[in-house]
Symmetry: C2
Subunit: 490 residues, 2 copies
């Protein structure tokens, strides 16, 4: 266990907050609710971005960039959207600062008030659909498959690093289609892209599902989502993909001339994941020794620590290390050789363990006399002694193993915390233990609302692949056709 | 010449504006001064980002992310900086919208006024140095070499796409050092990184220089810059790198314990390039037929257009095209095969020519019977007939050729428009013709200011490699030691 570090058992929430700071991922800034993403944390986010961006491009999407600011009036155009997004937001009212009359500092210049206030985008449907109106004339202009990597701002009252911050980084895809079917297929496709990313790169199993009306995106007809379970049994919504119907096309008057020469409203989707995934990643794998990273997303996949006494020993170790590094680099493995003399091997061991570097190789002069080296895997914290000629092959196999093992471990945990619950009494008891409760529900927002009031649990999603099954709603006793996922959530 | 397209000769400014829109690079949005960067334009920016990011990482820098908002009071801390940046800016004063009392739309909620107004970052020195105070305790924590890719906002009165927009995308490097010498070397190094990038990737020659006091960054001790010349002879500042001395460390109280156990203020640099480079790229190479792109930055490097009558001919062409594509892809060349049947070959020729695709291959069924294909290079608009087996090799050599030729062409133009001017009378005449005037200057801000008032020309920079040479100031007649670059600028 890392020194002076609270365990998950003791205080899961504090464990998370401390981990984020001590692993150099992020810290709170002087601006309320805004965080600073530190280089080590940002390097992980960059790896996520890189893989996602590639997946988006492979599915035919292109990146573009739309304005940070949205005129206030744009939010007034889509009735549900305004309720959801135009409330707690950053409002720009002036375009100049000037010296205060009392000479003490600066004030917004009263003569530079904007005619119309601008909102810092909380999400970009409105400004993008205002743009698409100019791009779309005929079916030939469709589909439009755009994505943007951007910062957005939602003035959250209670913030937590990565999980809920006033400003966060994300990508938002916005697509326009000629038919309902095509748009629905797109929304579903992107949910699957997110799920594949979560499972393959983050080693994080997710439930693919549909949101209930209460949890749906403001302005969407249907919201698809991927839901993950954290180690404490709470759910975390890791990504959403919305079928928006013609709502935004109608609000922004975006029509196209169809093949049949009819003027029709355009069909839309939008989909996004954010730096919240960093929170999900941390809470899925990390332990009481600090961060645990799946090799695919680790900025440093292998660290090499030398131990020596003489300059001659150091030279021999350098030579071995350089060979290993060049072989691993050729295979696309990122390696750090930490021969900094300002810190001791023991300090380095702790540091890289806490930062979740998947594999550590110790090149000790004494071991090397017998051609032996120590190799350590972070996921299960086990050491092994191997022959020095095996280093490269062993690193490769370990990295694959760790990636697979982390997904399995997380899947096993999730399975152990997912169970069917059939009565309201049982539900109230079981929800206290955390995890996913698979329950029958009568399909009404009222019932969901009441369950939330009484237990703080919500419907995380209606799983895509849920088998039909006759049952009765745990709360109302009314008939139900399938089980949905109830949980408390982040 | 492209149809209905104004020439550079007729109206350079209109030519630029039209080109940006018609080549699908960007367009104005509904938000004053903010542009939409369209997918084709963004793809070029992504290529720039990718190359720059690699160069930054190779020189030891890491990416991080700092808040979008800066508390108003932060600007009050550095006296010169506030003058330069806290004037025309976007001021956030409220954190909520609410329904207007008259029921018509939304207003900033009077009960949700921020205690302290927040400024949307025009540049991030202040918020970053507020953060560095927490990161830096001892010389062991130095240097810090961070970069961030971000959007920034400066409330410009007159805007032009890419060249001057209220919101723009950029990168800003912010480094912290233990010694003055190290910080100065860093600022100089990054100017050279920018210059290398401009020349190698953008095929744009630049003058490496130092800004005069009048043109220096607000808060800097010394500003290094790269200055390019556009085809109309006007200068464009393409990147700046600032040695900030201890100004921000003093403003934000950032001290470190030196090796000698002394508390000292930290030394700083900052450096940035922005989407303005897109404007520079366009104006350096493009012509009356539209956009011209250097191969390194072209999203599509080679386009293949098939011409056929029968389905059988199409199949033969497909086969050849697929082989060419796979060979070129293996060599890292990006190829588009445009066999879209909705548009005709002639339309495609115009389209890709206007969009600046460096190389076009026409696979015509009739030519192919004789094993011939037509290959077209965009930079000089020349066609050639080659044997079909030569396609891949020819593409490779052409791409290299075009990259080299564009740099040479731009260098020749710049040289032809750069001349020594020694008298005030000559200066007033010559400045009307555009270009760089190499003149002696007495080194005072007053003289520079007067020259600007009378001719709109400013000192673009004092070239790094300017030889010492005795002379007299063109304006004041006072003695001078070297020539500086005067020009009108964007």
């Amino acid at each position: 266990m890392a020194k002076d570090f609270v365990t998950r058992q003791e205080n899961y929430s504090e464990w998370y907050n401390e981990l984020v700071v001590r692993a150099d991922l992020a810290e709170n800034s002087s601006v309320r609710g805004c965080m600073v993403i530190k280089p080590y944390g940002y390097a992980i986010w960059e790896k996520m971005q890189h893989s996602l961006d590639e997946m988006f491009k492979q599915t035919g999407h292109q990146n573009a960039y739309f304005p940070l600011f949205i005129p206030k009036s744009f939010f007034e155009k889509e009735a549900e959207h305004v309720e959801g997004f135009a409330k707690e937001c950053a409002v720009v009212t002036h375009h100049r600062l000037t010296k205060s009359p009392d000479g003490k500092g600066l004030i917004p210049d009263p003569s530079a008030e904007l005619e119309e206030a601008l909102i810092v985008r909380p999400t970009s449907e409105t400004i993008i659909w205002d743009t698409y109106r100019k791009w779309i004339k005929s079916y030939r202009d469709l589909p439009i498959l755009c994505n943007q990597w951007a910062n957005v701002v939602r003035w959250e009252m209670r913030t937590r690093m990565f999980l809920r911050t006033a400003e966060f980084l994300w990508q938002e895809g916005h697509t326009a289609h000629a038919t309902k079917e095509e748009a629905e297929a797109e929304a579903l496709k992107m949910m699957n892209v997110y799920a594949d990313f979560a499972e393959k790169y983050m080693a994080m199993p997710v439930v693919r599902g549909i949101k209930s009306a209460n949890e749906r995106f403001a302005g969407a007809v249907e919201t698809y989502c991927i839901e993950a379970m954290m180690q404490d049994g709470k759910a975390l919504q890791a990504g959403t993909s919305h079928f928006l119907g013609q709502n935004f096309a109608k609000a922004f008057d975006v029509k196209f001339l169809s093949k049949e020469n009819q003027l029709e409203y355009v069909w839309a989707t939008s989909w996004g994941v954010s730096t919240r995934l960093m929170g999900a990643l941390i809470m899925t794998h990390s332990d009481d020794n600090g961060l645990v990273l799946p090799p695919y997303l680790a900025p440093i996949q292998v660290v090499i620590v030398p131990i020596y006494k003489t300059e001659e020993e150091k030279q021999q170790i350098d030579e071995i290390a350089n060979n290993v590094i060049s072989s691993l680099n050729q295979k696309g493995v990122s390696v750090k050789y930490d021969d900094d003399e300002k810190t001791k091997p023991g300090w380095k061991f702790n540091e890289y363990e806490f930062k979740g570097v998947p594999v550590r190789i110790t090149l000790g002069a004494r071991d090397l006399k017998e051609n032996k080296v120590e190799i350590f895997r972070r996921d299960i914290c086990e050491k092994e002694i191997i022959h020095k000629d095996e280093i490269v092959a062993k690193c490769e196999s370990l990295l694959k193993d760790i990636q697979t093992n982390l997904l399995k471990k997380a899947s096993d945990l999730r399975q152990s915390k997912t169970r069917n619950v059939d009565t309201w009494e049982e539900f109230k008891q079981e929800i206290e233990k955390g995890g996913f409760l698979m329950c029958h529900w009568d399909g009404t927002p009222e019932t969901e609302e009441k369950i939330k009031e009484e237990t703080k649990a919500t419907i995380r999603c209606i799983p895509i692949n849920a088998p039909e099954e006759d049952g009765i709603c745990i709360y109302s006793g009314k008939p139900s056709k399938r089980r949905v996922v109830f949980a408390r959530n982040y």
